[in-house]
């Protein structure tokens, strides 16, 4: 039982990180129809922003988190501005390839400037163990899960209740409404990239605290996993990203208990392909009607 609870917490921790990143993928897909391949690298950049704010400015956890979120937002918005916006009317493939190029650029640029070796992330939290229902838990795990849930609720509030959130949904569902709301498409897209990048930066710092090393290529695997999570739940759907993130977290943790951990990535992708076969629009997605 205690083993089970232990694993459950691990799964929640991993799932909430996937979910945080998956939200960014799904929101950008919702407004632009773009698989933003560079999103995983924003996650990495966020971790490095956190690393430097904590080391150089010696800030504690919360200010580090906030500052990194802001920096990552700026980076996300800048990328959209420079690389994606000029291509909004170009063939979609060109846009996706550009995203791929940006992704590689961020990885290799970080490696070229900061070096490829892993760096240990500063301890922003005094780790304490305590027992919960017989399972040993760290305060870090609790923090990761709570911070993620808090940010998801904030995002939910923004999307459901604010003007800009309504505009974001309008872009996905019905473009005509947007014109009536008096908010420009550019603004909506900017906010989307900003929010998504901030969430990814948070995930980056949480991963940095938990594992506790970061490196320029950390965004690749985690980024793809988060993307799988988004597709699993139904890409373009905010709830889908959450559901997908947690499901993937659970599957990975429990599969690792049964199979050698080296099979983890393979399993994640196998599940993805099975889901796409059975329900191509994801678990929460609705079937698409062909328009002729």
């Amino acid at each position: 039982m205690s083993y089970f609870i232990q694993q459950l917490l691990n799964a929640l921790q991993l799932g909430s990180i996937y979910a945080l990143i998956a939200l960014g993928y799904t929101m950008v897909y919702g407004v632009l129809g773009l698989i933003n391949f560079a999103h995983g690298d924003i996650f990495m950049a966020g971790a490095f922003f956190g690393f430097f704010t904590a080391y150089l400015l010696k800030l504690p956890l919360i200010p580090t988190l906030i500052l990194s979120m802001l920096l990552a937002s700026a980076l996300g918005i800048m990328i959209e501005r420079i690389a994606y916006r000029p291509l909004r009317k170009a063939p979609r493939m060109s846009l996706i390839i550009t995203a791929l190029g940006i992704s590689l650029f961020l990885e290799n640029f970080t490696r070229a400037t900061l070096g490829g070796q892993p760096r240990s992330f500063p301890k922003l939290l005094e780790i304490q163990d305590f027992t919960f229902l017989g399972a040993s838990v760290t305060n870090l795990q609790v923090v990761i899960i709570l911070v993620s849930i808090f940010l998801m609720l904030v995002l939910r509030y923004i999307v459901q209740n604010t003007m800009i959130g309504k505009a974001m949904r309008a872009v996905s569902d019905n473009k005509e409404v947007l014109a009536l709301m008096g908010i420009s498409l550019d603004t909506v897209i900017m906010v989307t990239f900003g929010l998504g990048s901030a969430l990814a930066a948070t995930a980056g710092i949480l991963v940095g605290l938990a594992y506790p090393v970061i490196d320029p290529y950390m965004g690749i695997t985690v980024g793809w996993k988060a993307f799988i999570a988004a597709v699993l739940g139904g890409i373009g759907l905010i709830n889908g990203a959450l559901v997908g993130g947690f499901i993937l977290g659970f599957i990975e943790i429990f599969a690792a208990a049964l199979l050698p951990s080296t099979y983890r990535d393979g399993i994640a992708f196998t599940i993805l392909i099975i889901v796409l076969l059975l329900k191509p629009t994801g678990l929460l997605g609705r079937p698409v009607i062909k328009k002729v």
Binding site: I96, L100, P260, Y263, T270, L272, L277
Partner: protein, 325 residues
């Protein structure tokens, strides 16, 4: 007359290939240069096969390194474990990779849009993951001691043959069907085209040639390991493809030559070399979203006979306008 001309043309081409091979053997050309030339040829095969899917068929596959990996590993198993001649391993690599690509087409084309990208990438990841876990092929360490079977003339002939085969397919009923699917899938279906089947055939061909290229690559370097075939390799191919031009064989050749050449020239830059590739890719996309060559082809690639025949018909028919309309 035409036949004599084309025989002469191909003899010169072949002679050039043999000349370079000989110069290499007697070390008039630096072995390093020879290897770069071989690499260019292999990349041309990879990129033009990827172009069949991404350029002509208009789908979006991003896991081409997966097929390259199956080809490289199968051919290595043939030569290293079973001591078969390279030619056999080479053919087996093409067949298996083509077959796998065909089978992947089954799930891939039941879905639509970006999900194909996801499935091909997933396949790439799963293959690398499997290879990393299979002791038989050395797991993460990979396989060593592959015979040095790939030489310049092998690559040269394979590249030229690939290009001829692709050209002939593209300018045939098959290629027209693929392009029609790319341009308007529903209209293509209403022309009696079995879209799923056609896509699977295209996929199989692309996979087959990627496998062949993998076999050449492995037997050029003489060692292979799973980390050479990750999605980074796939993105390298995409970079070359989109640099040269989507939907153009000329573009594929150009992209492979430019990118491979450039990376070798910039070898001294070390890590920064890996920054330049992506920057070039993004700049190309921003200025020329379809790549340097777009979907145009050089005249030499286009079939000639059609043009003459049509001209004859048009000049003859021009006079009898259909007045009933």
């Amino acid at each position: 007359m035409k036949i004599i001309k084309s025989i002469a043309f191909w003899t010169v081409i072949l002679a050039l290939g043999i000349l370079v091979e000989m110069l290499g053997r007697f070390e008039y050309i630096n072995p390093y240069v020879i290897q770069v030339l071989e690499l260019i040829g292999i990349n041309i095969i990879l990129v033009s096969s990827l172009n069949i899917i991404n350029g002509f068929l208009g789908e979006f596959a991003i896991g081409h390194a997966g097929f390259m990996a199956t080809g490289a590993y199968l051919s290595a198993i043939c030569t290293v474990k079973f001591h078969m001649p390279f030619a056999l391993g080479f053919l087996a690599a093409g067949l298996l990779s083509g077959l796998i690509a065909y089978l992947i087409g089954v799930p891939a084309f039941k879905t639509f849009g970006d999900y194909l990208a996801v499935i091909t990438l997933g396949f790439n990841m799963i293959i690398v993951n499997l290879l990393n876990n299979l002791e038989y092929v050395g797991a993460a360490r990979g396989m060593v001691g592959l015979p040095k079977s790939t030489n310049f003339i092998w690559v040269f002939c394979a590249t030229i043959l690939t290009l001829i085969i692709f050209r002939n397919i593209i300018f045939s009923n098959y290629g027209r069907i693929w392009t029609a699917i790319r341009e308007n899938t529903l209209a293509a279906e209403m022309m009696g085209i079995n879209v799923v089947r056609s896509k699977m055939v295209a996929f199989a061909i692309a996979g087959c040639f990627a496998g062949l290229a993998g076999a050449l690559w492995g037997h050029m370097l003489q060692y292979i390991n799973p980390s050479s075939f990750t999605y980074l390799k796939s993105t390298d191919m995409l970079t070359m493809l989109y640099l040269g031009g989507v939907g153009s064989l000329t573009g594929s050749v150009l992209g492979a030559v430019l990118m491979t050449g450039l990376l070798e020239i910039l070898r001294d830059l070390g890590v920064w070399r890996m920054v330049i590739g992506p920057v070039i890719l993004v700049l190309i996309m921003l200025t020329k979203p379809l790549g340097l060559f777009g979907s145009r082809e050089l005249k030499i690639v286009q079939p000639k006979s059609d043009r003459e025949e049509v001209q004859k018909y048009v000049s003859h028919a021009g006079r009898k306008h259909n007045n009933e309309l």
